[in-house]
Each structure stands twice: as structure tokens, then as C-alpha cells.
């Protein structure tokens, strides 16, 4: 028997248009990136990638990402725990506030940080007295990257922890477990897939963030240039192959992230079964 909405013609049209759109908007650009990067051969690609400034940009990007992930991880778990396990006035408001980094344009976020922590800003001015500079240096880049990525882990955890409820934890407490033991042996195993998934998303965003970082970094070549900023500079300098070599690196990181995500989902689904 045929189900509603399963007319062969409708199905064929939908499948074809989906495949066509995916190829045009997703696959083709990806192929183009690698084609451009390797346009003048592997050697040129390699020379571009191993260029001093590119290596520094890669280094800074990885450094920022490695610092961002643990901060977002701890923040996300703590926030999700707070919101799903306790009831207090302002709980709903807090849940809405978590989404601010998603709702606000990253450029705006960068500007606000500049306003607050820049040398002429309220807090930056005071810090300047102690000779501490946040903006146009890596701490500023780290701050805005954390701002932009902090909702990912919490967003993944909150619906899951809400659905699971606190029954497992209650059971563990009646059996005498407390604090860290409770978290490590009961809560963490229950949320580990969502947690890893949140980390992967955080990673992807931290590596690729452009808007907020471009405002606060100052884009000093070899010093405060992250990979996306470096890429843009190369492109402005008409170094197309150089720009696309960096782009290929970013695309590669993205592909690896997607692969990690797919394999996680697959493993989680298998564990559920």
C-alpha cells in the first residue's frame, strides 16, 4: 500500500532536486577549493603551506582551539547541570541567555569586547595601568572565540539531561554516592556522546571563526593572525594559490570534524540498540 506523500513522481522530483542542490552548493565549492590549492602542483601547495606566516597562523589557531575547548567543556557541563537539576528564579532567563552568542553577529561581539577591553575601554583602560594588553593579542582572540563557542556544549547537553531526568542520580545517592563519584560514574557515562558531540562542534567553530576574531586581533602577520584571517590577507594580496592552500587546510579540518561526528553518531546509535 502506498503511504501518504509517497507518490513516486513526487519522490523522484524531491530526490533529484536535493542531490542537485547539494552538489551545486556543497560539493562543488569543496572540490573547487582543492582544485585551486593544487592548481600549480603539490610542490607549490606545500611551499605555501610551509610558509613561515602560514605555519604561525596554523599554530595560533590550534593554540586558541586547544585552550577554548576545555573552558567550553567545563562551562557547558556546569551550566547544563545547573539548569536541568536545580530550580531557581531566573532559570528560564538563563536558558535564553545561553543563546546570545548564537543570536548576535560575531562582528558585534568583537566590537563590544573591543569597547570593553580595548585600551580606551572601561576595563581595558584599568588593565592598561598594570601593563596588561588583551586586545590585538592572543588573549583577546581567545576571549571572543570562547564567547562565540560557549553555547555548543550546553546546547547539546540540556535537552538530553532534561529528558533523562535525575532518577539515575537519585538512585546513586540512595546508594551512598556523592559529588565527584556520582558525576564520574553515573552522570558522565549518560551524557558522554552528547558531550563529545558538543566538543566537536566547538572545535569546528573555534578553528573557523572569522568575524569576531578579525575585529580584536589586529591581524599582525606572524603574530595575531589566525588561519582564517591569514587566508583572507593572502586573498587580498592576489595570492590565489596561497589563499586556497590555507582554505584547503581549513576544509580538511572541517572534513575530519564531520567524519568524527559521523562516527560518533554511528557508535552512539549502535550503543543505544
Amino acid at each position: 500500500m502506498q503511504r501518504i506523500g509517497d507518490a513516486p513522481r513526487v519522490r523522484r522530483i524531491l530526490v533529484i532536486s536535493a542531490v542537485l542542490l547539494a552538489a551545486l552548493f556543497l560539493l562543488l565549492p569543496l572540490v573547487a577549493i582543492f582544485a585551486q590549492a593544487f592548481a600549480q602542483g603539490v610542490e607549490v601547495f606545500w611551499r605555501n603551506v610551509s610558509n613561515h606566516y602560514t605555519v604561525r597562523a596554523i599554530g595560533l589557531t590550534l593554540f586558541i582551539t586547544v585552550l577554548t575547548i576545555p573552558v567550553c567543556l567545563v562551562f557547558g557541563v556546569a551550566l547544563a547541570w545547573l539548569v536541568t537539576r536545580f530550580s531557581f528564579p531566573g532559570r528560564r532567563l538563563l536558558q535564553t541567555l545561553i543563546d546570545i552568542p548564537f543570536a548576535v553577529s560575531p562582528v558585534v561581539a568583537g566590537l563590544v569586547y573591543l569597547l570593553l577591553y580595548g585600551r580606551n575601554g572601561w576595563i581595558g583602560n584599568w588593565l592598561d595601568g598594570y601593563d596588561i594588553q588583551l586586545m590585538f593579542a592572543w588573549p583577546g582572540i581567545l576571549m571572543v572565540t570562547i564567547f562565540v563557542t560557549c553555547p555548543f556544549v550546553a546546547r547539546e547537553l540540556i535537552p538530553l539531561m532534561q529528558a533523562q531526568g535525575s532518577r539515575d542520580e537519585e538512585a546513586a545517592v540512595t546508594l551512598g554516592a556523592s559529588g565527584w563519584t556520582l558525576f564520574r560514574r553515573v552522570t558522565l557515562p549518560n551524557i558522554r556522546w552528547a558531550l563529545l558531540y558538543g566538543v566537536i562542534l566547538t572545535n569546528a567553530r573555534a578553528v573557523g571563526e572569522f568575524g569576531a576574531v578579525s575585529v580584536v586581533s589586529g591581524a599582525i602577520r606572524g603574530q595575531t593572525n589566525t588561519l582564517p584571517l591569514h587566508l583572507e590577507q593572502l586573498y587580498q594580496d592576489y595570492n590565489t594559490v596561497g589563499a586556497f592552500s590555507s582554505a584547503a587546510l581549513l576544509a580538511l579540518i572541517a572534513l575530519l570534524t564531520l567524519a568524527a561526528k559521523a562516527s560518533l553518531e554511528w557508535r552512539a546509535a549502535r550503543q543505544e540498540a
Partner: protein
């Protein structure tokens, strides 16, 4: 270990889940908390466990034996708790689930791993799941999961075992089996148990005493026999079984309702409502001197020890239910659509104002 609750109340926001309650549970007793949903029975159980905090005002007290546990954390109350949906740790094997309480003990008090293994195996033997130690909860049936959860709760040798609708999610046959088995376990290990249920049959069958609750109040505390024989008020009577209602005007010792009449010499004139249990109704071909209640048979269910017959009549706002013995059923050759006469052997009446029951045997 006896349990004594004094002046325990609970409010959630603006709704009062429990009015101030006093309750004494004796050492070694198996007590059922029975009531409809929203009656406060689960809240009461969770307060005994320490999973919920009783209101600070009025200042209530919870004692286990001589020990005042009002301010004691769940962790240190030495209770075992069994949840309705088992709450097994799904990422742990059956063995690890049962061993959990032992493995999280402070290092100084923790038994050696050899002793833990021996104790868990003894527990699994007791719940007849020795062969399932390496399985995960998802690989077990509901009844098996609930047995694991019982073994887990008993692993720390609690003084008090608390069960929240322990058999509510299981099918009828497994429920019956687990009930019998819990009773057996209770008698053998001699702890004090409190369980919550909304199933009257379960409460009456399993408990030494039943606490009937409604709207955050205790309506009656009694043995199952006493509860059924002498319900304290109309709520208890209605909650503990099927009820047939007869409403009419009494004049000169006769209650009239349409073309139905029943002699009630004990009652004064006025509007009255009488309640009758299905097994207290006799069916006959002809009216008796005292009762003339013509009814029509609308459906028959012959499964079980007795035949359940549904009756309707013009003078009845809601159908009646009568249970008759198979012998009587065959003698009267009852069939659907047949006209018969109902003759009450006994009826009950509750004066709402005084909440005092009055019962009478029909002449």
C-alpha cells in the same frame, strides 16, 4: 527499624501536597501507601527517603527507631529505594549495578573486591538472576530489571526498604509473581518496608497495614481486613472496590426511586444515598418483601471465580455491577436482556458531615 513521622507537611509552590501527617510504622512491618494519583503518597515516600525535604513550618520530625533523621542526608539514612522505572545504570552490567553501593563506599569501610563479588553473587542468587550478571539492563525484561533494582537496593543491608510503585510498569502476571516474591523476601530478611501503590488489590494483598491517602491526607490506617470490613469514610469505601449507588427519597421507612423500592426502616425521612458492593447483591426472578428493584441484564463476564453481571434500569443513572456464583448463574439461566430483580443483602451509608459509616443488613 521502626519509622515515626510527626507533623510532616509538604507544599510545592502554592499547592499543598501533604497536610501535616503523623504516621507510625512498626519494626519489621510491610506497609502500603495507597491512594489515587495526586494523593501525596509518593511525596510522603520520598520524604521518608530524604529525596524530598518536608516543609520547615510546621517543624516535622522523622525518626528511624531512636535516631532522628529529619536533617540527615539521603546518603546517610541507610535506606534502600526502588524506583518505578527501575533506574538501573544502563551503562553498567547487572553485576556492576548491584555492586555499585558497595564500590562507592569510603575506602576505609569498603569490603575487599573478593567480598564484594561474593556478596553480589549471593544477592543475584536471591533474586534468581545469577546467570545474568554480565548482561546489561537493556537485555533484561521489565520484571528482571526490577529484581536487579531490588538486589541493588538490598546490597547495603538497609534498615528500611522504600518502593515507589515497584510493580506499576509490569504486566499483570509478572506483577503477581513479584508481589508474592517481595512478601517472601520481606519475611525472610525482616527489614521494614514501605511501598506506594494505586492498586487496591496489590495493597490489600501485600501489606500488613495499609495507609489510605487522598488529597494529601491520611484517610485511614488499618489492616487489609479491617479496612475492607469497616471503612472509615466514603472515600475509603469507594476506593477499595466497585460501588453501586442507589439514590432516592425515604418516607415511612421505604426508599423510593422511580419504580424501585427498598425497605430501610432504620432511616429517617429525606433524601438518601446508599452504597452497595457487587457481591452484596442477589439476583432473583421475583422481588422480595423488602426489595423491589427491577433490572435488565446488559452484559455478562463469566471469567473468574464469579460471574460479573452488568445491570441497567430506567431508575438507575449509572449501571450496577453484581457478582454471582457460577451455580446461581446457571440456576437462573441469566442471559443478556433478561429482566431480574436485585435484592441487596447489605447496604452502606456514609454521613458526609460526620464521616461516620452506617451499615445495615437488609431485612
Amino acid at each position: 527499624m521502626s519509622i515515626r513521622l510527626t507533623n510532616i507537611a509538604k507544599t510545592f509552590g502554592r499547592t499543598q501536597a501533604l497536610e501535616p501527617i503523623n504516621l507510625d510504622i512498626h519494626d519489621g512491618e510491610l506497609v502500603g501507601l495507597l491512594g489515587p494519583s495526586g494523593s501525596g503518597k509518593t511525596t510522603l515516600l520520598r520524604i521518608i527517603a530524604g529525596l524530598e525535604q518536608a516543609d520547615a513550618k510546621p517543624a516535622g520530625r522523622i525518626q528511624f527507631g531512636e535516631r532522628d533523621v529529619t536533617q540527615v542526608h539521603v546518603r546517610d539514612r541507610r535506606i534502600g529505594f526502588v524506583f518505578q522505572h527501575y533506574a538501573l545504570f544502563r551503562h553498567m552490567t547487572v553485576f556492576d549495578n548491584v555492586a555499585f553501593g558497595l564500590t562507592v563506599m569510603p575506602r576505609k569501610e569498603r569490603p575487599s573486591s573478593g567480598e564484594i563479588r561474593a556478596r553480589v553473587h549471593r544477592l543475584l542468587e536471591m533474586v534468581q538472576l545469577e546467570d545474568f550478571a554480565k548482561r546489561y539492563p537493556a537485555q533484561l525484561s521489565g520484571g528482571q530489571q526490577q529484581r536487579v533494582s531490588l538486589a541493588r537496593a538490598l546490597a547495603l543491608r538497609p534498615d528500611v526498604l522504600l518502593l515507589d510503585e515497584p510493580f506499576g510498569a509490569l504486566d499483570a502476571k509478572v506483577r503477581q509473581e513479584l508481589r508474592r516474591w517481595l512478601r517472601h523476601l520481606h519475611d525472610e530478611l525482616n527489614f521494614t518496608s514501605v511501598f506506594v501503590t494505586h492498586d487496591q488489590e496489590e495493597a490489600l494483598e501485600l501489606s500488613d497495614r495499609v495507609v489510605v491517602m487522598s488529597n494529601g491526607r491520611i484517610e485511614q490506617i488499618d489492616t487489609p481486613e479491617a479496612l475492607y470490613r469497616a471503612p472509615a469514610n466514603r472515600f475509603v469505601f469507594e476506593f477499595l472496590g466497585d460501588v453501586n449507588r442507589l439514590e432516592g427519597d425515604v418516607r415511612d421507612g421505604v426508599l423510593t426511586c422511580g419504580d424501585a423500592r427498598l425497605a430501610v426502616s432504620e432511616l429517617d425521612d429525606g433524601r438518601e444515598e446508599l452504597l452497595l458492593r457487587p457481591h452484596e447483591l442477589k439476583l432473583a426472578d421475583a422481588p422480595s418483601d423488602a426489595a423491589q428493584l427491577p433490572v435488565t441484564v446488559t452484559s455478562i463476564s463469566p471469567i473468574g471465580a464469579e460471574v460479573r453481571v452488568e445491570l441497567e434500569a430506567d431508575w438507575l443513572p449509572a449501571p450496577w455491577l453484581a457478582t454471582v456464583r457460577h451455580a446461581d448463574f446457571e440456576r437462573l439461566a441469566i442471559s443478556r436482556g433478561q429482566r431480574l430483580y436485585a435484592i441487596p443483602r447489605r447496604w452502606h451509608r456514609f454521613d458526609d458531615a460526620t464521616a461516620k459509616p452506617r451499615q445495615a443488613t437488609a431485612a
